[in-house]
């Protein structure tokens, strides 16, 4: 066997990046895992449960997060972004920009005292802005590394040269306002890109009323609303009046399969809307759900059976048809206008809560990253993958996995990630 001398860099610490890193690390290869946020975990950490097993998402993810943190072959670079790349397969030089955390990583024990005292209230991106966090924070309770971060944009010390209260209450003297951003250089043999996806903002679809109607939410918002660790503590109520919703509607293909927005299919929505309806039903057996769809795409293992289960055991009705218009009544109930194709009649149906299955879209900085890495993107700004060898990018030594190349679900991302790990390993063995 040839000797391995180079590290592999993995960009993105979601489930794909984590799986790729773990495979490589277990394979005996040293990995630099680059994560833009303060914690790894990505989108999967935001989910309540996962289809088709309805496993609690964070519960199956958490052991992997811990493994990533503890593995001697993995170096975690959080709050970090790739700024420059030179060299070629076997010998890449990468410049990484590391934002200061203002918290000493070795000292903070995540006791949370600083959070209690921090006077700032900031929109919490992890919770889809459904609640506020503080200016010193951790993305989520199980977040890894499990230490605090000060958000410079909102911290009173940085904005108004005041406060510093966290510094005073921290018994371990872990706060360090003198930390500075730094640039480090890594030398790696191959690179795996696993930067994931963003969510389409349905505000531009005016007829659906998102942003105007409080009881029209996106699927990821709903995921947080229903999550045990979410802003409602797992007790589902609707935004306008905190009443328990009984009639739910999901609208599939919001912003996808749509030439005017995103022509592609978002791959997972048929399944995750079913899952969310199932979880809602488990919370409250009086809940009835309608899922409006164009084609029910459930080709994965056990997926079709999952849909059948939803229909038979979870009071889900699947209604063929896309919804163009949502109205609202005086009690702020969303009213869906849809065509019942059995009668060819257009009907109006009142729901308590409407959930929009919004498309997975490329990360907003995907094009910038593609330029830095020198890889191609496709027409929609996903990273361009080989048609038959999907982990292969347009550049030698750089591999792709997960939703950064195409919308996909967790199992596909995990497969993709392991596959990319194999290719990245192969590359440094040749190189």
């Amino acid at each position: 066997m040839s000797k391995i001398s180079k590290n592999v860099m993995v960009i993105g610490g979601g489930i794909a990046g984590i799986q790729a890193s773990l495979d490589l690390a277990e394979r005996g290869i040293k990995v630099d895992l680059i994560e833009k946020n303060a914690c790894i975990g990505g989108r999967m950490a935001q989910l309540d449960k996962t289809f088709p097993t309805n496993d609690c998402s964070i519960c199956i993810l958490a052991p992997k997060l811990a493994e990533c943190f503890r593995h001697p072959n993995i170096t975690l670079h959080t709050l970090s972004e790739v700024k420059n790349l030179s060299g070629q397969q076997g010998d890449f030089k990468v410049k990484i920009f590391k934002k200061a955390r203002y918290v000493k990583e070795d000292e903070c024990i995540n006791c949370g005292q600083c959070i209690e005292k921090c006077p700032m209230r900031v929109e919490d991106e992890f919770d889809m802005k459904l609640r506020k966090r503080r200016a010193i924070y951790i993305d989520y309770v199980q977040g890894v590394p499990s230490i605090m971060t000060i958000d410079r944009e909102n911290c009173l010390f940085f904005t108004k040269n005041a406060c510093r209260i966290c510094e005073k209450v921290c018994e371990r003297e872990a706060i360090d306002f003198d930390q500075e951003d730094e640039e480090i250089e890594l030398n790696v043999g191959s690179i795996i890109v696993a930067t994931g996806y963003d969510i389409f903002n349905p505000k531009s679809l005016n007829s659906l009323g998102y942003g105007r109607y409080p009881n029209v939410v996106t699927a990821l918002e709903f995921e947080r609303l229903i999550s045990a660790s979410g802003p409602l503590g797992g007790h589902l109520t609707r935004p306008s009046d905190k009443n328990e919703p009984k009639k739910l509607a999901f609208i599939n293909c919001v912003g996808s399969r749509d030439i005017k927005n995103n022509p592609y299919c978002s791959s997972c929505c048929c399944m995750y809307t079913t899952k969310e309806a199932m979880i809602a039903y488990e919370h409250n057996n009086e809940i009835e759900t309608s899922i409006f769809y164009i084609d029910l795409r459930a080709a994965g293992k056990g997926f079709r059976e999952y849909i059948e289960r939803g229909e038979n055991k979870y009071a889900i009705s699947y209604i063929k048809g896309k919804v163009a218009k949502i109205l609202e009544d005086e009690q702020r109930n969303p009213i869906i206008v849809y065509e019942d194709i059995n009668t060819s009649q257009v009907k109006q149906f009142k729901f308590d809560l409407v959930i929009l299955a919004t498309t997975m879209v490329p990360k907003k900085d995907a094009v910038t990253l593609a330029k830095i890495l020198g890889i191609k993107t496709n027409d929609f700004n996903f990273f361009k993958a080989n048609s038959y060898y999907p982990q292969i990018s347009s550049k030698e030594g750089i591999f792709l996995c997960g939703a950064c190349r195409e919308p996909m679900d967790i199992p596909s991302s995990v497969v993709d990630a392991s596959g990319a790990a194999a290719k990245a390993a192969e590359a440094i063995m040749r190189g």
């Binding site: 066997m1 660790s229 293992k301 063929k320 060898y389």
Partner: protein, 555 residues
């Protein structure tokens, strides 16, 4: 260790609101403190978080704990993590016990929190009694043979072999047919690029000429024994038995196409299968002008509930190819849901519409009826029956599991799911692993997969296999069975029942012997032994009886 020395620490997990929202954790903590040998008891918001884990480590030291119990979720997902946490704090990992008060308690008793809390008390108490009797165990070390066997020489198998071989691992690629290539050999062109299938088949030459790959064609597997890192496979090739030794096995046996015989008056001439159409396209002999394709033939029904994943795209591809050759052809695809996930496939579907291919959705209870020169189908979009002229009907048949998958599964001691596809260890997070260590799966053997999916999975399986092959030594489970030769009467009941073939007979002493590396500690042998001669370490009779007794099962 005498009873006085036992110091148990109990960590009760809130799991956010998963447990804490139902059970009264404070009450549980207080209750636990009253139990014998409990030196410490506390709650954790999320025990599996880094905070929770360091909390365990610190308290082991601070309170001098020598047994640890975590009352939380399922050992299936979390036991390895907690065990290694104990180990990091200097405690033997087998002095750890886990109580599932979530999946089996707070989730089932969501509506009756008081009863749930009482049940949790019982469960924790039982665990405390067992923990007092736990013994330290050692994990075994085994060496690893740094080579792999790939079973099946289709695109998945060939690519898995290549990926491993390119990393300098020796690979035996075993194919039952006389040539490599699998189903792709029968295809005309491949989606989504519509290039000749022969392009993809070039992988064949790469695999056959790779110096690290030994290809066995016209070869069948006769026997598989051994365990992770050390498998022995007996291959039958041209009446010759060949024995190979490998550290890991990748199953890439693919699937087959369901025969169209008996569906929709199939006649092989005017009513043919999609696979037969590929053949006609290859020979450039599609003469029909009005072609109707029917999707989901023989699947998504009572008999076969699943969607076969690849048939929509295959039909789209062949329809597009015919249209490209003959723009005047009228092609109608009669479908249930068009499965064209993702970016490229949806684009491909749009392209098919752009070329003028017609799509009609049908309902399973009103399938199309084929008449002499037209077919009739109830069109859900119009609420009426529509006639479609045809001179050729093409049936899209699903991929089904190979006939010999059951035989192979038995030899590998891995499970199949209800449709006889191989069942992975965990749908979400271990999609190409088996629960059995050292065995992996990819391609259509796992589930109907197209070329790019098969390749992606084969890379993944190769990656997973390489995590084993790259190690010189592996650690294996320490909680195994042990036969007391003094009590054993050599009846072989345990040998017959062991699902892992871990027990054999020592001919000299005429007693059963457990191969500890293969043994998973499942306990079946212990339960079947008429002599009580088998000890299942970590689940000893004493330990289990202590649990039962304290629950109230007499003395």
């Amino acid at each position: 260790m005498s009873n006085e020395d036992i110091r148990i620490g109990v960590f009760i997990c809130h799991c956010g609101t998963n447990i804490g929202g139902v059970l009264d954790i404070t009450e549980l903590i207080e209750y636990t403190k009253t139990l014998p040998n409990v030196a410490y008891s506390a709650g954790n918001l999320y025990t599996c978080s880094e905070v929770g884990l360091s909390n365990i480590r610190e308290n082991i030291k601070e309170h001098n704990l020598n047994r640890v119990i975590v009352a939380s979720c399922s050992p299936r997902t979390h036991e390895p993590l907690f065990r290694s946490t104990c180990q990091e704090a200097g405690l033997n990992p087998y002095l750890f016990e886990m109580v599932n008060i979530r999946d089996q308690d707070s989730w089932v008793h969501m509506k009756e929190p008081q009863k749930g809390t009482e049940k949790a008390k019982d469960l924790i108490r039982m665990s405390v009694y067992k923990a007092s009797l736990l013994e330290p165990l050692e994990k075994m070390q085994v060496s690893v043979i740094p080579s792999a066997a790939v079973i099946g020489g289709g695109i998945a198998g060939m690519n898995a072999a290549l990926t491993l071989a390119n990393q300098s691992f020796k690979v035996s690629l075993i194919e039952k047919d006389s040539e490599l290539g699998g189903l792709i050999r029968h295809l005309h062109k491949t989606y989504p690029t519509n290039e000749d299938a022969s392009n993809i088949l070039e992988t064949r030459n790469l695999a056959e000429s790779h110096k690290e790959i030994d290809v066995y064609k016209s070869a069948t597997i006769e026997k598989i024994e051994g365990y992770v890192g050390n498998y022995k496979i007996v291959i039958l090739q041209e009446k010759k038995m060949i024995e190979i030794e490998v550290g890991a096995i990748i199953v890439a046996t693919g699937a087959r196409v369901l025969s169209p015989e008996g569906y929709y008056n199939y006649n092989g001439k005017t009513i043919i299968s999609q696979l037969e159409l590929e053949g006609l396209l290859k020979e450039n002999s599609v003469n029909a002008k009005n072609i109707a394709m029917i999707q989901c033939v023989g699947c998504r029904n009572e008999e076969r509930r699943y969607c076969s994943n690849i048939c929509c795209m295959t039909a789209l591809k062949n329809a597009i190819l015919i249209k490209e050759q003959n723009p005047d052809a009228n092609i109608t695809i009669i479908f249930r849901d068009i499965q064209a996930q993702g970016v490229t496939y949806e684009e491909y579907y749009r392209r098919a519409r752009e070329m003028g291919i017609i799509f009609i959705k049908y309902l399973p209870d009103k399938p199309p009826i084929i008449k002499e020169d037209h077919l009739e189908v109830y069109n859900e979009f119009m609420n009426q029956v529509i006639g479609i002229p045809h001179d050729l009907v093409v049936l899209s048949m699903p991929l089904i599991a190979n006939e010999d998958s059951e035989r192979l599964a038995k030899m590998l001691k891995v499970p199949l799911e209800e449709n006889n596809f191989f069942l992975e260890a965990h749908v979400k997070l271990r999609p190409v692993d088996f629960a059995t260590d050292g065995v992996f799966v990819c391609g259509s053997a796992h589930w109907p997969a197209d070329i790019s999916e098969s390749i992606s999975q084969s890379n993944a399986a190769a990656s997973r296999a390489s995590t084993i092959l790259s190690k010189e030594m592996l650690e294996v489970e320490g909680s195994t069975a042990e036969v007391n030769p003094d009590l054993c009467i050599g009846c072989e009941a345990c040998i017959k029942i062991c699902p892992y073939s871990a027990i054999s007979k020592d001919e000299e002493t005429d007693t059963a012997v457990v191969n500890k590396v293969v043994c998973k500690g499942c306990g079946v042998c212990g339960a079947s032994c008429p002599q009580n001669a088998i000890i299942i370490h970590h689940f000893t009779s004493d330990q289990i009886i202590a649990e039962i007794v304290t629950y109230g099962g007499g003395d």
